[in-house]
């Protein structure tokens, strides 16, 4: 279930975590009421539901913040496990960064990284910092239009403590790109931050929404999952590598929420029961590695 466009709906059969599964995407075009009705309709009829296009939980240094609209959606189901993929963000995305630090193709140590949004993926922010990246966190810039770049995890966490508890109460459309706005042409915001970075990281909808028209030659984008049209947009604007943290499984990448929903279905657990060991075992069994695509050659590397 995605708050994004229904135009990207599809269904696929795939073997995930050792189980044959049918994975279907249903977009709700930014309509919260429709999304709630769909989750209620699917409740008890499917093995797990992934919520895409929004977050429910933000985990920041031991604190958990609950996005009100996301929770409304999650509570529409009472029998089927529902996940927003935040477990994958906590465990899989740092693993992706560690893999990249060890294998390339982008040298992370010393690289300048712009995370357009880090409060929704603090684990990635921590892993990039540990890898020696020079970080710019653009949460205030891109989510609130405030011309203030954050450069340290400590300041990011401090500002999160001041703001997250209140921001999560706002309607989802005020804090996230939903529905038709996901497909609107990019409008450059703070382009200098993009141009200064070697790596642009974070939620792809955010990256795309404020993407500058040019000047991205040779840069890498580290994100969750992309479509062929997304990759063509990035290639046309000069980006060299697209690295998706969700692995290539059955010939395609899936969103964090889909991955975590599949884990719930495979392990017959609710998201709260999934442990770091479950994620670790699943990653090892899948010989986990992020998907690295060289847009210059069109080749997918290791």
């Amino acid at each position: 279930m995605s708050l994004g466009s229904s135009r990207r709906d599809h269904s696929v059969r795939a073997t995930l975590f050792g189980r044959d599964m049918e994975v279907a995407r249903r977009g709700c075009d930014g309509d919260m009421d429709r999304a709630i009705a769909l989750v209620a309709e699917l409740d008890g009829k499917v093995d797990a539901i992934g919520l895409g296009g929004l977050d429910v939980y933000l985990f920041i240094r031991g604190e958990r913040y609950v996005i009100a609209d996301g929770m409304r959606l999650m509570q529409a189901a009472t029998r089927t496990p529902v996940t927003d993929g935040s477990g994958c963000k906590r465990y899989l995305e740092p693993a992706a960064v560690r893999w990249l630090a060890a294998h390339g193709p982008v040298a992370l140590a010393g690289a300048k990284v712009l995370m357009v949004s880090a409060l929704d993926r603090f684990g990635m922010a921590e892993a990039l910092t540990e890898a020696g990246c020079a970080m710019t966190y653009g949460d205030l810039m891109f989510a609130a239009g405030v011309p203030y770049a954050i450069h340290s995890l400590d300041e990011l966490a401090e500002i999160a403590r001041k703001m997250a508890r209140e921001m999560v109460k706002l309607p989802i459309h005020m804090i996230y790109s939903v529905g038709a706005s996901q497909e609107a042409a990019p409008e450059a915001r703070f382009p200098e931050a993009y141009l200064d970075a070697d790596v642009i990281a974070g939620d792809f909808l955010f990256i795309r929404r404020f993407l500058p028209p040019d000047g991205l030659d040779g840069k890498a984008v580290l994100t969750n999952t992309t479509t062929a049209a997304d990759r063509e947009l990035l290639r046309a604007r000069g980006v060299r590598y697209v690295i998706t943290t969700t692995p290539l499984l059955a010939g395609r990448t899936f969103g964090n929420n889909v991955m975590e929903a599949a884990l719930c279905a495979a392990f017959n657990k609710v998201p709260e029961e999934l442990t770091p060991d479950d994620f670790g075992a699943a990653l090892r069994a899948a010989d986990y590695r992020p998907a690295v695509i060289d847009l210059a050659s069109g080749q997918q590397g290791d």
Binding site: L140, G145, V146, K162, E166
Partner: protein
């Protein structure tokens, strides 16, 4: 109902707290705004002016307002003295903001930087 001087003290305290947080100068760079603050149960409005990253409370209207905040006097006093945050009264309609969504978001960030945690 809060007295007029209580609102004055709350707004002046907010201006002081704003000045004490140096990052707000950068965060409001290029965002010059005149804000009308009106309590439904008091006769005269109050004014805030952000310019060049500095917030002040002029006694007279410094020009046409870019944003208007209105609520009852108790809520306005509690909001600017940090006793409550703006989000919930804004969502319930008790606090009314006449401004663009982008300006509302910016003002929310400023308020939380002043009073958050």
């Amino acid at each position: 109902m809060a007295a007029a001087d209580e609102l004055t003290r709350a707004l002046d305290g907010f201006v002081e707290r704003f000045a004490a947080e140096p990052r707000l100068k950068a965060m409001t760079a290029g965002w010059d705004r005149t804000i009308e603050v009106r309590a439904d149960d008091l006769p005269a409005p109050y004014w805030l002016r952000i310019e060049g990253g500095v917030l002040r409370r002029p006694d007279e209207a410094p020009g046409k307002p870019d944003m208007a905040i209105s609520a009852n006097s108790d809520l306005i006093r509690d909001l600017f003295s940090g006793r409550i945050s703006p989000t919930e009264p804004y969502l319930t309609g008790d606090l009314r903001l006449l401004a663009s969504e982008a300006d509302v978001m910016r003002l929310d960030v400023i308020t939380l930087m002043v009073w958050g945690e």
